[in-house]
């Protein structure tokens, strides 16, 4: 069949996301389950409040971090499958022409679930390694009685094998839906494009206001953005992850340990870089023909890169702002609701210093990535692009 194990191993983004999600969820889940065994020993008063706060923190982190990363990984998986089908139209068309059913071809997409299995297994392994340190810092004030790490086989299975099976199933179902394209369209590698049509003419007898005519490069910038909402999402998501995780790590000095902060910084950077590189690489690869054509007609390299990549800059900074608001709201809720009865938790205020540092470092990172890809765009060979067609 067309899809091999090698194809599955190429899904680096899915591997990294599932690894991060399982690392965080496994640590908190294991901790909460071990904590639950202490419950009969927990007396009322300060210990009970601290215990409840820790349980609630675990639940919030698992729900927010796990849920957010799960949704993102599903979107990423669909993006990969759609991309795979688009770049292998001819092979898939030949299989269909030979008589393979959509379901039979889609069945081979299950291998994409393997990258999730590798990611979740690695994530669980990392979580096990980090657990001793994590348990220590969670109870460094020794408020709770001493307790040790236990291995819980059911959650381990649920966090590794179950997501892999779920993603394998999703891969088959989504590819089955995508393979419903007629054979000839696949064989001719017909491109279907997403275009947002403006309303034209009159509606209900009412004259629509005339649309303002934009310069060509602005129109191109806008249509590049509109052509792939998934890429817009990933660039926004990259900025969101960087902004929220880094600011949270810097602003929760008094709220959590250095261990937690370091973990958040690492996860933030890994997720942001993975999403950003994945999205920008797709933008560049998907627009090679456009870039080649612009250069054939005599547009400068600066104009080419600005029209293809420039449109994503506002998206990135909007993602950054949303990340800032999200982390502020989350910490505020944690402090005012979850830790409401814990005396030792200080009041939380927006950390302008952390915001400034993270914004500047994000701007530097983003502009460096853009510069790197602008250089890559300059190397697009007009002839090679033409020959590919």
């Amino acid at each position: 069949m067309v899809i091999s194990l090698k194809d599955s191993l190429k899904l680096l983004g899915i591997f990294i996301m599932s690894c991060c999600a399982v690392t965080v969820c496994a640590m908190f889940l294991n901790y909460n389950m071990d904590l639950a065994e202490l419950e009969p020993q927990i007396s009322d008063g300060m210990v009970r409040v601290f215990y409840d706060a820790q349980v609630m923190t675990g639940k919030v982190v698992i729900a927010v971090c796990g849920g957010c990363l799960l949704v993102t990984t599903v979107i990423l998986l669909f993006f990969y499958i759609r991309n795979y089908i688009n770049t292998h139209k001819k092979e898939l068309g030949i299989l269909k022409a030979l008589g393979y059913s959509n379901f039979k071809i889609a069945g081979s997409f299950w291998v994409f679930g393997l990258s999730v299995l590798v990611g979740t297994a690695a994530g669980y392994g990392i979580a096990l390694t980090l657990m001793p340190g994590f348990y220590r810092v969670q109870n460094k004030e020794k408020i709770l009685p001493e307790f040790s790490i236990h291995f819980h086989p059911l959650p381990a299975l649920c966090l590794t094998v179950l997501p892999a099976a779920l993603f394998a199933l999703l891969s088959v179902l989504y590819s089955y839906r995508k393979l419903k394209t007629p054979v000839l369209e696949l064989l001719r590698e017909k491109t279907t494009v997403r275009v947002r049509k403006k309303r034209e003419g009159k509606k209900a007898g009412k004259e629509l206001p005339a649309q303002k005519e934009l310069p060509f490069l602005s129109e191109l910038k806008r249509s590049t953005l509109g052509a792939s909402p998934a890429l817009v999402f990933f660039i926004g998501f990259a900025a969101f992850c960087y902004s929220s995780m880094m600011q949270m790590a810097f602003s929760m000095d008094d709220l959590a340990s250095v261990f937690m902060a370091a973990m958040m910084i690492i996860i933030g950077i890994v997720l942001a870089c993975t999403s950003l590189f994945l999205a920008i690489t797709s933008v560049v690869n998907g627009n090679k023909k456009t870039i080649a054509m612009l250069r054939v007609f005599g547009y400068s390299e600066k104009a080419c890169s600005s029209s293809i990549l420039g449109g994503y800059r506002p998206v990135a900074y909007i993602g950054f702002v949303i990340g800032t608001i999200y982390q502020y709201m989350l910490l505020k809720i944690m402090v005012t609701i979850v830790f409401a009865d814990v005396d030792i938790v200080p009041e939380y205020h927006f950390d302008f210093k952390a915001f400034g540092i993270v914004l500047v470092s994000f701007a530097i990172l983003y502009e460096l990535v853009m510069w790197r890809y602008t250089e890559k765009l300059k190397k697009v060979s007009i002839k090679e692009v033409m020959l590919e067609s």
């Binding site: 191109l220 054509m293 054939v296 007609f297 005599g298």
Partner: protein
């Protein structure tokens, strides 16, 4: 006037070298319709790429009114393409996410032209401004690419197998549009094709084989797109 002097071009490395152009020299007069004829692999498309500044030759020169474009930097070549040449390709290469109007604007805006819509009227697509490439037939897409190329008012129009992907009736229609627009706008046409019949429309025919020019002749009487065989 375009003068091509002793152009050579090879592809591949030292051990596996293929010489595609072997010392080509030719002249193209202003406002002429030149057809470069040749079988597949004769080097005609490479010659077109070199003449239009899309590719640099190994040796030789390509002079546009005494300006050698082989000596230009990448930025210089970009400027040259912007000011001097237009392209029409076999595969159209329209931008799929932009409608007809915006695709033609791609060419027009380079020279700050605002009257590009009349070029769409000239190729009979004035009513399809808001259609997207995938909503058009092959012939209509090629007519958009004609309008796009001419919207920047090029001095020289390069055509690479312009009817290669079209049926006879549509092919004739596209050639007729190009030919009548040349009379109106006075640009030079350099067209590479393997279709012998298109050569009957040309003022000058250059035949190529194995990277060399083997014959050059002028047509005493040029035929229209509807008079040639297919």
């Amino acid at each position: 006037m375009i003068r091509v002097n002793n152009i050579t071009k090879s592809f591949g490395n030292e051990e596996n070298k293929t010489e595609v152009l072997k010392g080509i020299s030719l002249t193209v007069a202003d406002e002429d319709f030149v057809v470069i004829l040749g079988a597949s692999g004769s080097g005609k498309s490479t010659l077109l790429n070199v003449m239009s500044g899309l590719e640099k030759p190994d040796t030789g020169e390509v002079l546009y009114d005494d300006k050698d474009i082989t000596k230009l930097s990448d930025a210089g070549l970009t400027e040259f393409r912007k000011e001097t040449v237009g392209f029409i390709f076999q595969q159209y290469y329209l931008l799929p996410h932009l409608n007809v109007d915006k695709n033609v604007k791609l060419g027009a805006e380079l020279i700050g032209s605002r009257d590009y819509k009349k070029m769409l009227d000239a190729v009979g697509l004035g009513e399809k401004l808001h259609k997207y490439p995938h909503e058009l037939s092959g012939g209509e897409q090629q007519r958009v690419s004609v309008a796009r190329a001419l919207a920047k008012k090029p001095k020289v129009l390069f055509l690479d197998e312009p009817t290669g992907a079209l049926d006879e009736a549509t092919g004739r229609m596209v050639l007729d549009y190009i030919s009548s627009l040349q009379k109106e706008y006075h640009f030079t046409i350099v067209c590479v094709t393997h279709n012998l019949n298109i050569a009957e429309m040309a003022g000058t025919v250059i035949r190529m084989n194995s990277g060399k020019v083997i014959e050059t002749y002028e047509n005493k009487q040029r035929k229209t797109a509807y008079e040639i065989g297919w």
